[in-house]
């Protein structure tokens, strides 16, 4: 049920984004990509907790924004320090996304 809502939401968001004149400057594309990864991780994490019946609304919302912001901030900081710090965010969130996905998959299979 929850994953269906998430899918619907993402599709609706994508539809709105595609049809709105909203654009971000190309320079910020890198930060946005890291932020997207963080957001994806948060959504999958929320999905997982909802399946575990441990879903907490506040944790979910704050996690979403703080993760996305921190990831973008890391990328920005890395740019200015000359270190590819956003790699850290990509690796961390990438690993977590796969972990979350694995747990979700198990829950779906067990059901």
């Amino acid at each position: 049920m929850a994953w269906f809502l998430v899918l619907l939401g993402v599709l609706a968001g994508a539809f709105i984004g595609m049809n709105s004149p909203l654009v971000i400057p190309a320079i910020y594309a890198k930060y946005m990509s890291v932020a997207i990864l963080a957001a994806l991780d948060s959504v999958l994490g929320g999905l997982r907790t909802s399946m575990e019946d441990k879903f907490d609304n506040l944790v979910f919302i704050t996690g979403f924004f703080s993760n996305a912001l921190l990831a973008a901030l890391l990328a920005y900081l890395g740019d200015h320090l000359g270190v590819e710090l956003y790699m850290a965010a990509i690796v961390a969130f990438g690993v977590r996304i796969f972990q979350n996905l694995a747990i979700i998959r198990r829950y779906l299979l067990k059901k």
Binding site: L5, G17, I24, A39, I61
Partner: protein, 242 residues
Amino acid sequence: MKDEVNQLKSRRGYITMVLISVVLGLMIAVQFKVTQGSPTDFTRRTQDVVAELKQVKEERDNLKNELDELNFNFNKIVSGKNESQDALLSELSKARKASGLIAVKGPGVIVVLNDSSRSIKPGDDPNLYLIHDEDLLKVINELRAAGAEAISINGQRMLATSEIRCAGPTIQVNGNRIAPPFAISAIGDVGLLESSLRMKGGVLENLEFWGISTNLDKPKEVIIPAYLGTIKFKFAAPIEGE
């Protein structure tokens, strides 16, 4: 009762989850558009630059026309000469020849230099196989020492104030950037010019050592164009009574 609270909680959870996923989808879509759209942005930028270039070219052509007109007027005034102006005019023509403001022709040499086509051995400095501003300066200096009366590099007339300066991969002469092959034309005593360049241990031999292709041509008539820019004296003022 507890069930009801749980249900309410989970319903609220669903709402936020949907909202957040909408935001996520929005972010993805925007990012997608940016990465997809960058080529068109790029072409748009190119179009801007092209339009600007066209405008600048037009401006240049207009200025050139204006220059031609002014030159025409100048010549008209000059050609309406009388006896007393003759001496002045010959002096003026000499000064213009010396300052490089008119095109000149005469016997001379054309040296064409091009970067080395030799393959660079590992560990070698590739700079040694390229033509640098110093190389051109040496050739020009040699030609001047041999009495060249007028010199141009790739159509850029060498003036007393001309610079030959390294400008990244190109060389800047008279404020213009020129790239290899460099054709250096000089008017003067052909034999003298050639022997000064070709002397043992001289400039050309030194360049050829690094594989830089040099080609010395001795046409019957070398044409050296006039200096096309403007000459302004902002700081230097003549001293009265000299």
